[in-house]
C-alpha cells in the first residue's frame, strides 16, 4: 500500500496479524494476563455496585471543569505509574547487564531485556513522562484551579475542555495498547532521522509513537485555547490583570507557549508520517531529504515544551510559599514579567539540544547566550520565593516540604543547565547521562510541585485534608530516592557514561549503578507510601474535613468558596477589590460575609459527544498505525458527522433558579458550621515593597523599625 511494507498487508486488517501479539514474551504475556484480570475485576465491581449510570452521568459525560481536571490528574497519575515502571526496568537492566561476565535471561545476552525491547522501554518512558504524565497533571490543575482563581463559574468552552481530555486519554490508550499489540518505537522519545524511516524501522512501533504524540498535541492545543480564553474573558468583576493570582499568570504564559509551539510538533511528526506512509523524502538520507531538518523542527517545539511544563509548576510554588509563609508573594510584578520572559525566550534556544550539529561558532554562541538568558528570569523567581519565605512565619507541613524540595532541585537543574549551555562543555557531556540527570532534576521540580499541589489543593476539591504523616513520609522517601538515583548519575555523566545503554561495558561504573538501583527501590517504597497516604486519608476523611479556607492562611480566590467546590463554583460572583483577595477579607474580618440575595444562573449541559469523539480518535489512531484504510475513512467520517451533529444540536444549557441556589448554599454553610470555626491567624509579615495591601488598623510601616509589625507575634 503506497509504500513497500515488510511483512505483508491485507485490505481487511492492514498490517495486523496474530504474530504481532507478543504472547510468547516472558515479560509481556504475564502482564497482559494481569491487565485483563484487573480490568475484569474493576468492570465487575462497577457492575456489582451498579455504578455505571453514576459513572456515565457524573464523570464520563461531564463538562464540569473540576471533574475534568480530576480525571486529567488521575490519567496523569496512572501514566506516571506506568512511566515509573519503565524507569524501574531501565535501571534494573543497567544494574544487571554490566561487563562481559554478566548473565542474561529471557533471550538477552546480558541482563533481561533484549536491545530492541530496551529501546522501546526507554522511548516509552520519556514520551509518557513528559507528554502523558507531566502534561495532563499540570493541565488538570490548571483546569481545576484557574477558573476558581479568577472567579468564573466555568471555562470559556466547557465542551471543548471535555474533548481535550478525551483526546489526551485516547493518546494514553494508544500507547498502552502498543504493549500488547505490535511494538513501540525504539528511537528515543524525540526520535532521530533517519532511523525512524520505514527502511530502518519497518515495524509499527514508530507509527504508534507518531500518532500518540499527534493526539496529545491536539488535545493540549485545544486545552490551551480554552484556558487562555477563560483567563482573558471570564474574570470576575474587579479581577484586573494586576490582581490575577500568580498561578493564573503562570498558566497564561505556559499556554501561550503551548498554543504557539505544538503546531511545530504536529508538523514535524506529520512529515515523518508522510515519509513513512507516502514515501516522501523529508528526512531521508538520500533523494534530497534533510536529516537535521527533523531535529530542528522537533526541538523548536521541544524546548518551549519543557517550559510549558515548568511554568505551571513555578506557579504552584508561587501559591504555596506565600500561604505557608503568611506573607504576600515577594515581587508580584517581577514574577509576572519573569513568567512572560521565560515564555518568550524559550522560543530562541532550541539549538542547544544539538550544539554538536556543528552549525559553527557564531550560531552556537548565539544560542548559548540565549540559553543563559533564561537563567535571569528564573533567578528572579528563585529570589522572589526566597524573599517570600525570608522572615515569614513558616509552617513546615507536607505541602511546604514538597515545594521547598522543588526549589532545591530547581537550583541543581538550573545550574547544570547553565553548564550545558556552554558549547565547550556541551561537546563533552552531550548524550551522556549528565544530560539525563540535568533534565530529571528539572522534571522532578515539576513532580515535586505537583505533589505539593495535590496536598495543597486536595481539601479544596474534595473537602478534606490528606494525612500529614504519610504525606511527609512519602516526601522523605521520595527525596532519598531522588538523591540516591541522581547524584550517582551526575557522577557517571562526568565519567563519560553515554545515555541509553542496554549493556554497560565498564565494570568500574557498577557500584554507582547499584546505588541507583537501590535508589529506585526507595522510590518504589515511596510509591507505596503514596497508596498508604490515599488509603489513610480516605479512611479518616470525616476527621479531616475543612471549611472554605482549608489552611487558614491562604490568599487567593479559590479559598473563598466552599470546600468541596460546588459545581457552580460561586453562587454569586465575588467582586474583587485587591490582589490576594481572601487574605484581605480575612485580615479585615469580612471573610464570612455572604451574599444577601441570589439570582438565577445558567450552566452548560453534560454531553456524551466528547467521549465518543475521543473514542473515535483512538480508533482513527489505531487504524492509522496498522494501516487499516477502510477503518481510517470510517472513523474520520464518523468524527465529521458527530461534529456536525453537535453543531446543529448546540447546547441551550439549563438554569439553576435563585431558590435552588439558596437551598444548596444553605446546605453547604450548615455543613461548614459543623466543622467548627478554623483557627485563623490575623495579619501577615509585611516587608518592603512586597506588600499587596495594607491593613488600615496598623500604623504605616515606615514608622515601625522592623520589629513590631507582623514579625514579632510568633506565638
Amino acid at each position: 500500500m503506497l509504500v513497500d511494507l515488510a511483512g505483508g498487508w491485507n485490505p481487511m486488517l492492514g498490517r495486523l496479524a496474530w504474530s504481532q501479539i507478543p504472547y510468547d514474551n516472558p515479560i509481556l504475556a504475564p502482564l497482559f494476563v494481569a491487565v485483563v484480570i484487573g480490568t475484569i475485576i474493576i468492570l465487575g465491581l462497577i457492575t456489582y455496585y451498579g455504578k455505571w449510570t453514576y459513572l456515565w452521568k457524573e464523570w464520563l459525560t461531564t463538562v464540569d471543569h473540576k471533574k475534568l481536571g480530576v480525571m486529567y490528574i488521575i490519567l496523569g497519575l496512572v501514566m506516571l505509574f506506568r512511566g515509573f515502571i519503565d524507569g524501574l526496568m531501565i535501571r534494573t537492566q543497567q544494574a544487571w547487564a554490566v561487563g562481559t561476565h554478566s548473565s542474561g535471561v529471557f533471550g538477552a545476552t546480558h541482563g533481561y531485556l533484549t536491545p530492541f525491547h530496551f529501546g522501546q522501554v526507554y522511548s516509552a518512558h520519556g514520551l509518557i513522562m513528559i507528554l502523558l504524565a507531566a502534561t495532563p497533571l499540570l493541565v488538570g490543575f490548571m483546569n481545576i484551579i484557574v477558573p476558581i482563581q479568577i472567579g468564573a463559574r466555568d471555562m470559556a468552552y466547557p465542551y471543548l475542555n471535555a474533548l481535550g481530555l478525551w483526546i489526551t486519554a485516547a493518546a494514553g490508550a494508544l500507547i498502552m495498547i502498543s504493549l500488547f499489540v505490535g511494538d513501540f518505537a525504539h528511537n528515543g522519545w524525540f526520535g532521530y532521522a533517519p532511523i525512524f524511516e520505514l527502511q530502518y524501522s519497518p515495524g509499527v512501533g514508530v507509527d504508534y509513537w507518531i500518532w500518540t504524540m499527534e493526539l496529545v498535541a491536539l488535545g493540549t492545543t485545544l486545552g490551551g485555547i480554552n484556558i487562555l480564553a477563560t483567563i482573558i474573558k471570564m474574570r470576575a468583576p474587579g479581577m484586573s490583570w494586576g490582581r490575577l493570582p500568580i498561578f493564573v499568570w503562570a498558566s497564561l504564559s505556559a499556554n501561550v507557549i503551548a498554543l504557539t509551539s505544538f503546531p511545530a510538533l504536529q508538523v514535524a511528526l506529520g512529515l515523518v508520517a508522510a515519509d513513512r506512509y507516502l514515501g516522501a523524502h523529508f528526512f531521508t538520507a538520500g533523494l534530497g531529504g534533510n536529516l537535521m531538518l527533523y531535529t530542528n523542527l522537533f526541538w523548536i517545539w521541544g524546548h518551549p515544551e519543557v517550559y510549558f511544563v515548568i511554568l505551571p509548576a513555578f506557579g504552584m510554588m508561587s501559591e504555596i510559599f506565600p500561604t505557608f509563609s503568611e506573607k504576600p508573594l515577594f515581587g508580584y510584578i517581577t514574577m509576572v514579567l519573569a513568567s512572560l520572559a521565560i515564555a518568550g525566550v524559550s522560543w530562541l534556544v532550541w539549538l542547544h539540544h544539538f550544539f554538536t550539529m556543528g552549525a559553527g561558532p557564531y550560531v552556537n554562541s548565539a544560542f548559548s547566550v540565549a540559553t543563559m538568558l533564561v537563567g535571569i528570569p528564573t533567578g528572579v523567581k528563585v529570589f522572589n520565593w526566597a524573599f517570600t519565605m525570608y522572615r515569614g512565619r513558616l509552617t513546615f507541613n507536607a505541602a511546604m516540604l514538597w515545594a521547598i524540595g522543588a526549589l532545591f532541585l530547581l537550583l541543581i537543574g538550573g545550574l547544570t543547565g547553565m553548564m550545558l549551555a556552554v558549547p565547550a562543555i556541551n561537546y563533552m557531556v552531550h548524550n551522556s547521562v549528565f544530560v539525563v540527570a540535568h533534565f530529571h532534576s528539572m522534571l522532578l521540580v515539576i513532580v515535586y510541585a505537583i505533589f505539593a499541589s495535590v496536598i495543597y489543593w486536595f481539601p479544596k476539591v474534595f473537602g478534606f485534608k490528606l494525612d500529614e504523616f504519610w504525606a511527609k513520609t512519602m516526601f522523605w522517601l521520595f527525596s532519598a530516592g531522588t538523591t540516591l538515583v541522581f547524584v550517582p548519575m551526575y557522577m557517571l555523566g562526568f565519567m563519560g557514561m553515554t545515555r541509553r545503554l542496554d549493556y554497560v561495558f565498564n565494570t568500574a561504573w557498577h557500584p554507582y549503578l547499584l546505588v541507583m538501583e537501590f535508589g529506585i527501590v526507595v522510590y518504589m517504597i515511596s510509591v507505596l507510601a503514596f497508596f498508604a497516604l490515599l488509603y489513610v486519608s480516605i479512611r479518616d476523611h470525616a476527621k479531616n474535613r475543612v471549611g472554605t479556607d482549608a489552611w487558614g492562611t491562604s490568599r487567593s480566590l479559590e479559598w473563598l468558596t466552599h470546600s468541596p467546590v460546588p459545581f457552580y463554583n460561586f453562587a454569586v460572583l465575588p467582586h474583587i477589590s485587591t490582589r490576594d483577595e481572601v487574605a484581605w477579607r480575612r485580615d479585615n474580618g469580612i471573610d464570612h460575609v455572604q451574599p444577601d440575595h441570589y439570582e438565577d444562573i445558567h450552566m452548560p449541559n453534560n454531553t456524551g459527544v466528547a467521549i465518543i469523539l475521543g473514542g473515535l480518535t483512538f480508533v482513527l489512531g489505531f487504524a492509522l498505525v496498522w494501516r487499516i484504510w477502510w477503518l481510517c475513512i470510517l472513523s474520520l467520517l464518523a468524527i465529521m458527522a458527530l461534529v456536525i451533529y453537535r453543531s446543529f444540536k448546540g447546547d441551550p444549557g439549563y438554569i439553576i433558579t435563585a431558590a435552588e441556589l439558596e437551598e444548596m448554599e444553605k446546605d453547604a454553610m450548615r455543613r461548614e458550621a459543623q466543622i467548627g470555626k478554623q483557627h485563623y491567624r490575623v495579619g501577615g509579615g509585611v516587608l518592603g515593597d512586597a506588600i499587596a495591601y495594607e491593613r488600615s488598623d496598623l500604623p504605616p510601616l515606615a514608622s515601625q523599625p522592623g520589629s513590631s509589625v507582623g514579625l514579632d507575634h510568633r506565638s
Partner: protein, 211 residues
C-alpha cells in the same frame, strides 16, 4: 508601592457582584477561534520553513523542480477564484447586518462555488503532476512542494464542508447567537486561508517558477 486597591475601605467595599455580570458569548467564541487560527498559522509557518530548507538545488536531487511545471497564470486563476470567494463571503456577511437571510445564503453559495473552482483547479494541477510521474516520492524538494500545497487544499476542503453546514444552519435555525458566532468564525477561517494562499502563491509557485 502597594497595589492599586489597598485603599479600598473594607467596611464599604463591594464584596459580591450586583451588576448582573454577563460576559459576551460571541466575542469569547471569536477570541478562542482567533487563537486556533494563530496555531494554524504556526502550522503553516513550520511547513514554509521546511519548504525553505528543502528548496535548494540539491533538494531536487537532479529531478524536476517547480520551474519545470509551474504555470503562473494557471495559479493566478486559482488565486482569483479564492479571493473572489472571500469577497463573496464578505457580501454575505454584509447581508447578515441587515438580517437578510437570502443575501447571506447567496453570498455563501457564491463563496462555495468559487471555492470549489479553486479546489478543482488544484486537483487538476495535481493529476497533471502525476501524469508527469511526479509525486512526493520523487525528491525531498517535491515532497515539500506537494505537502505544503495540499495541506492548504485540505483546509479549503474542510472549509467548503463548513460553508455547506452553515448554509443549512442559516436556513434551518436562522440567526441565533450560535449561528452568527459560527458565521463569524468561518469568515475568519476563510480569510486566513486566502492570506496563507498569498504566501503559497508568492513563495512556492512564483518563487519556484523563477528559480
Amino acid at each position: 508601592m502597594s497595589s492599586p486597591a489597598c485603599n479600598v475601605d473594607p467596611k464599604t467595599a463591594e464584596l459580591w457582584d450586583k451588576g448582573h455580570y454577563q460576559y459576551d458569548v460571541i466575542s469569547t467564541r471569536t477570541l478562542g477561534y482567533f487563537m486556533y487560527l494563530l496555531s494554524d498559522g504556526m502550522l503553516f509557518a513550520t511547513l514554509f520553513a521546511a519548504y525553505g530548507v528543502l528548496s535548494y538545488q540539491h533538494s531536487y536531487f537532479g529531478g524536476p523542480t517547480p520551474a519545470d511545471f509551474v504555470k503562473p497564470w494557471y495559479t493566478f486563476v486559482q488565486t482569483m477564484a479564492l479571493f473572489l470567494s472571500v469577497l463573496a463571503y464578505g457580501f454575505g456577511m454584509n447581508a447578515l447586518k441587515h438580517k437578510n437571510k437570502s443575501g447571506v445564503i447567496s453570498g455563501l453559495l457564491a463563496a462555495f462555488v468559487l471555492g470549489v473552482l479553486f479546489l478543482m483547479l488544484d486537483i487538476h494541477d495535481m493529476t497533471h503532476l502525476a501524469s508527469l510521474g511526479i509525486s512526493v516520492a520523487t525528491s525531498g524538494g517535491m515532497s515539500a512542494f506537494i505537502v505544503l500545497t495540499q495541506v492548504h487544499a485540505t483546509h479549503i476542503f474542510f472549509g467548503l464542508i463548513w460553508i455547506l453546514v452553515m448554509m443549512a444552519q442559516v436556513m434551518i435555525k436562522g440567526f441565533t447567537t450560535e449561528v452568527v458566532g459560527r458565521l463569524l468564525t468561518l469568515r475568519m477561517f476563510w480569510h486566513l486561508q486566502a492570506i496563507i494562499w498569498v504566501f503559497v502563491y508568492v513563495f512556492v509557485y512564483l518563487w519556484g517558477y523563477m528559480s
